[in-house]
């Protein structure tokens, strides 16, 4: 079970992408806006803990993952790994120790594999670039070991294959093997099963859960699927338009959600008993607003059935509604 010490912390993490104003705006000196993809997030992940990051498309999940894996540079806030500030560390050699401990699994495994690299090349790449092996036989051993751990058996049969010679599930296993070949302490998994057949999903999830159980590896599991998050995670963080609206244990979030957005999310998924509450709150209406035009006040208010005057003016802070359970809603106060 999870250790209490945090391995990773995000403090008021913020990623704004500048919008390139048109020529007209520039001539008139109009300020170009920004896409507030991630807009002040506090999140901690414990050693060996599985945290699910849940949100609709465009809520900024991938961007959070990219910040943690140092693929995107935040515009504000801090990224702390075991208390050490990694926010401004850059360059492949300076990041080598960090890369050794934090890895990533991508949503689209086909895109994540270089079409001209064999499976062996893919899994060997981190071992070579992070200088984790001394000689070729060690390299081959660790590649085999990683492929086997990711469920590709016998590993030798896959060495010389190219990505197009693999099935979708096998490709994702290759990506996973590449990530776990370095024996990281945290893996960011960005919708690792959303492109896969339902029949293969459970197997891939099992590989990830095994990693935690055997090696005490922490996992940030990014998904848009609340029941899936509940089935795998210890804690769930719900993201809406770049901000965490609710965070708590998986059971609390799933069966006792406090934020109207989480409630709506759950109502939209009958598998976890959404039906029981249907009467209380209507289903979500309207489109997700664009991250380029985040509403004033509570960013959920245009779609919130419980919105009142204060919501349109003031942004609610994260309010403690239970042990380890925070909800950013004015209605949670009482």
């Amino acid at each position: 079970m999870p250790d209490t010490a945090d391995i990773l912390r995000l403090e008021s993490m913020q990623v704004h992408f500048p919008i390139q104003g048109g020529l007209f705006d520039r001539v008139l000196g109009r300020p170009a806006g920004a896409v507030r993809a991630v807009d002040g997030i506090d999140l901690n992940i414990g050693r060996g803990e599985i945290v699910a990051l849940v949100g609709e498309s465009g809520s900024g999940k991938t961007t959070v993952g990219r910040v943690i894996t140092k693929l995107a540079q935040p515009t504000g806030g801090r990224l702390l790994f075991e208390g050490e500030d990694m926010t401004s560390v850059r360059g492949s050699s300076a990041l080598r120790p960090y890369r050794h401990r934090v890895q990533m699994i991508f949503q689209d495994a086909y895109q994540a594999l270089n079409p001209r690299h064999t499976v062996f090349d893919v899994v060997a790449e981190p071992l070579r670039s992070l200088r984790l092996v001394d000689n070729a036989s060690q390299l081959a051993d660790r590649v085999s070991e990683a492929l086997a751990a990711a469920g590709l058996n016998p590993p030798g049969d896959f060495f010389a294959r190219f990505p197009h010679e693999l099935s979708g599930g096998q490709r994702q296993r290759v990506v996973i093997a590449g990530a776990l070949a370095v024996r990281p302490e945290l893996i960011v998994a960005d919708e690792p099963v959303s492109m896969l057949d339902v029949s293969i999903r459970a197997q891939i999830l099992q590989v990830l859960v095994d990693l935690r159980d055997k090696h005490n590896m922490a996992l940030l599991f990014i998904t848009h699927d609340l029941p899936l998050a509940w089935s795998i995670a210890d804690r769930i963080a719900v993201l809406y338009l770049g901000k965490l609206v609710e965070i708590g244990s998986a059971d609390e979030i799933t069966f006792n959600p406090r934020h109207p957005y989480t409630v709506a999310l759950r109502n939209a998924t009958p598998q976890i008993g959404g039906n029981a509450d249907r009467g209380k709150l209507p289903a979500l209406q309207g489109e997700v607003p664009s991250a380029a035009r985040v509403p004033r006040g509570c960013r959920f208010h245009p779609r919130c059935p419980l919105a009142f005057d204060r919501c349109r003016e003031e942004e609610p802070p994260a309010i403690e509604v239970g042990p380890q359970h925070l909800s950013a809603c004015w209605r949670s106060e009482c």
Binding site: S93, N114, H117, T118, F120, E125, G156, A160, G178, V182
Partner: protein, 310 residues
Amino acid sequence: MSESTVRYSPRGRTRAIKSFLCQFLGHGGAQAGLVCLVFFLVLAAAPNTLVGPLQTAINATGDFLVPPSGEHLLGTDEVGRDVLNLVVHGARISLTIALLATVISLVVGTSVGITAGYYGGRVDVWLMRLTDFFFVMPSFVLALVITPVVLEVMGRGGDILGFRPSLFVIIVVIGMTSWAFVARIVRSQTLSLKERTFVDRARVVGSSNIVIMVKHILPNLLPQIAANGALVVAGAIYVETSLSFLGLGDPLQPSWGTLLALAQRAGAASAGAWWDLGAPGVCVLTVSLSFVLIGNALDDTFNPRRRVIP
């Protein structure tokens, strides 16, 4: 390397290469181009055994401007040299110049293009300004500027890396004026390749920028480079011919362009000596055309979407 790596590694690549070759060789244009090219490569490889040593005014074997006959299959030129002999020896000079110039062009163009596209920002701006400068520079002007300098420094005699100084200048000039084209294509491809997820993954697993450029981006550029490289060779042969025709060649190592220039100056056209101008001219046309055909075939093989539906 462990037993299993050695046993399995080559197989996938061999298979990929085999299937590529099958497709490529099935292409009509590629077949025609390859046949011509092999023919000229054989000429270039062994001119002495095929037609004897290069003839000069001193060891010329025939009369002046004899039309083609059994003795001189392609006739003779204005000093009695056998045109077949000259053309076969010219193949070696012309092809060597074109291929070496292409190598320079591809190496410089690819390095500049990848660097500009991958790093972007200010690096991109400055490298692309440099590229544009070379892109618009006429090769003839550059040759005129460089030739006297090189000849002054090196002297007219002797050789540079086995080439007479003026030929060396031609190689460098063609290389310098053709890489910009390659750099532009490579840059635009790099811009899209670097956004691919596999480049993100390479970064996450700790690969440095150099490794990403060489191991991830370059292999995906090779089809483009190969296809355009063939076009660069065709262009190089053409430029070499015109530079030599304008008198920048070396009469002691005559390329097809030099032969054309000599024939022209001797008044072959007005004397009705069509063989003297026609033989090197047809060679230039055939070889550049076969490289264009090969380049297009490579392009079609690598971009199946562009292939015309039969």
